[in-house]
């Protein structure tokens, strides 16, 4: 079955898909906890509240217009004819999910999965904007992601859009393939995280005047590592549901998906342990956590198309890549990304998409080129779009908190109370006076 056919689900398949989708919120919960643990204690409550607001805004905006723009296989779309071939650019569905029967049909399941997935994508930038991104701006930026950036790209990948049709129209393998959202969820979220990190700039005190970065460690490693466990459970559901609904695998194929997902995360985490131990003498908990999530992210695109051995390879490269990428961004490129969101979600997501083109077990000719076209679209369309939208937003609604917000912490500044009122002293060692 190609990715352009609506999957025919039996009752058992529908039930399995429902269970998998029910697990997806755990991936969001895990990411929220990881982001909070990697930030400062003085912004912990703000981070968790922002996560909740992000999920809520994303779900609402996606309900209003997101699904109308994204669509699903077999639903109406605007088609542009170029050189005799039809290019599906955007869906043409009604707003507010009108006309969609929420009865367990594949398109209703896809809509439900996407309402949760768009929240997951919108949680990712919270990691890069931690400790200085204002709550109103977070909500507005999320609305732009859920209403414009995400649905447009997701239509191209999952809604029968031109990327998915590269195989049928131009003989490029099976077209652009991404079962679990390595591009449409992770890379889109990661590139938005990069845009936010650029627009809000580094935290005060992060860099010395000569550009040397200062270590600002996360405040709760236990929280971060607990979040990793939650993300695994959520990712098993996300990858399995995505593989069933968007690549049309049989429900029994979810065993391969689950094995690949777990293996990729495990190897990536172990690779991060080894690399950080070799480089720093001891394993680094935050980088290992980032490695774990990067393994999950890298597994998403090819979870249903690669062998377990290939999943091990994908996870291994992701785990190694992440340890160097985090350092490169922080130390050399002046990107202050407390949660490692750019490396974990953008870099690992793009790696997973690319790897599928070379190690997919189907071995379809031209698959690697289809994957490259997808990556070029992420860099050449999604990044400028998401940066431009957030830059415009920043003109009307300043995204960065003022100095007072960073000095007090976002908890006290925006919420009026700290997450840990009995335990925390607000040191100002990182704030230049």
């Amino acid at each position: 079955m190609t990715s352009l056919q609506v999957p025919a689900l039996s009752e058992a398949g529908t039930a399995l898909c429902l269970v998998c989708i029910l697990l997806v919120p755990l991936s969001g919960a895990g990411l929220a906890i990881i982001n909070t643990g990697l930030g400062r204690s003085r912004s912990a409550a703000h981070s968790m509240l922002a996560s909740l607001c992000v999920v809520a805004v994303a779900a609402l905006v996606y309900f209003i217009c997101g699904f109308a723009f994204q669509g699903y296989l077999g639903r109406p779309a605007h088609i542009l004819t170029l050189a005799g071939k039809g290019w599906s650019w955007i869906a043409a569905g009604p707003l507010f999910l009108q006309g969609l029967k929420l009865d367990g049909s594949p398109d209703s399941l896809a809509a439900w999965l996407q309402i949760l997935s768009v929240g997951l994508a919108a949680l990712i930038p919270l990691g890069s904007g931690a400790d200085r991104w204002r709550l109103p701006a977070i909500c507005a930026s999320t609305a732009l992601l859920a209403g414009v950036t995400y649905p447009v790209f997701a239509h191209w990948v999952w809604g029968g859009g031109w990327l998915a049709q590269l195989g049928a129209n131009y003989g490029l393998g099976r077209g652009f393939v991404d079962a679990g959202g390595g591009s449409s969820i992770q890379a889109v979220g990661g590139l938005t995280a990069l845009s936010i990190a650029w627009i809000v700039g580094p935290r005060r005190g992060k860099y010395s005047p000569d550009g040397m970065p200062t270590a600002i460690p996360g405040h709760n490693a236990v929280q971060v590592l607990l979040g990793c466990v939650l993300t695994l459970v959520g990712w098993l559901g996300l990858n399995s549901a995505g593989a069933i609904l968007f690549t049309g695998i049989a429900p029994t194929g979810t065993v391969l998906v689950a094995v690949n997902t777990a293996l990729s995360a495990s190897v990536a985490a172990l690779a991060a342990v080894m690399i950080t131990r070799m480089r720093f003498g001891k394993p680094d908990a935050s980088l290992v956590a980032n490695g774990w999530v990067s393994g999950l992210v890298a597994s998403s695109a090819g979870c249903a198309s690669v062998t377990p051995a290939a999943a091990v390879f994908i996870g291994l490269v992701a785990g190694v890549l992440i340890t160097f990428s985090v350092e490169l961004l922080e130390a050399r490129l002046a990107v202050d990304d407390p949660g490692g969101a750019v490396s974990v979600h953008a870099a690992a997501g793009i790696w997973g998409v690319l790897a599928l083109g070379f190690v997919a077990s189907s071995g379809a000719a031209g698959q690697w080129l289809a994957q490259l076209v997808g990556i070029a679209t992420l860099l050449g369309f999604v990044l400028p779009l998401t940066y431009g939208l957030n830059w415009l937003l920043d003109r009307f609604l300043p995204q960065r908190a003022p100095l007072e917000g960073e000095r007090l912490g976002m908890d006290v500044y925006e919420l009026g109370a700290s997450a840990y009122p009995e335990f925390v002293t607000h040191t100002e060692e990182f704030i230049p006076r």
């Binding site: 131009y170 700039g201 860099y207 005047p209 490129l333 002046a334 990556i375 860099l379 050449g380 431009g388």
Partner: protein
């Protein structure tokens, strides 16, 4: 420099789209897709460099 970087990103994507839509030969198509990606990498480098601003300069 920032604007030039993002324009190069868009231009690279345009090359990739044109290669897919207009070229028939697999070798030509692959070559132009890789060339488009190369242009995008240049754009990304420019965009990154334009954001290499440390706190004292921002203030």
């Amino acid at each position: 420099m920032k604007l030039a970087g993002f324009l190069l990103l868009l231009a690279g994507w345009g090359i990739v789209l044109c290669a897919v839509a207009l070229l028939r030969s697999a070798a030509q198509r692959s070559g132009f897709v890789l060339a488009g990606l190369g242009v995008e990498v240049l754009g990304l480098v420019l965009a990154v460099r334009s954001h290499l601003v440390f706190p004292t300069e921002r203030e």
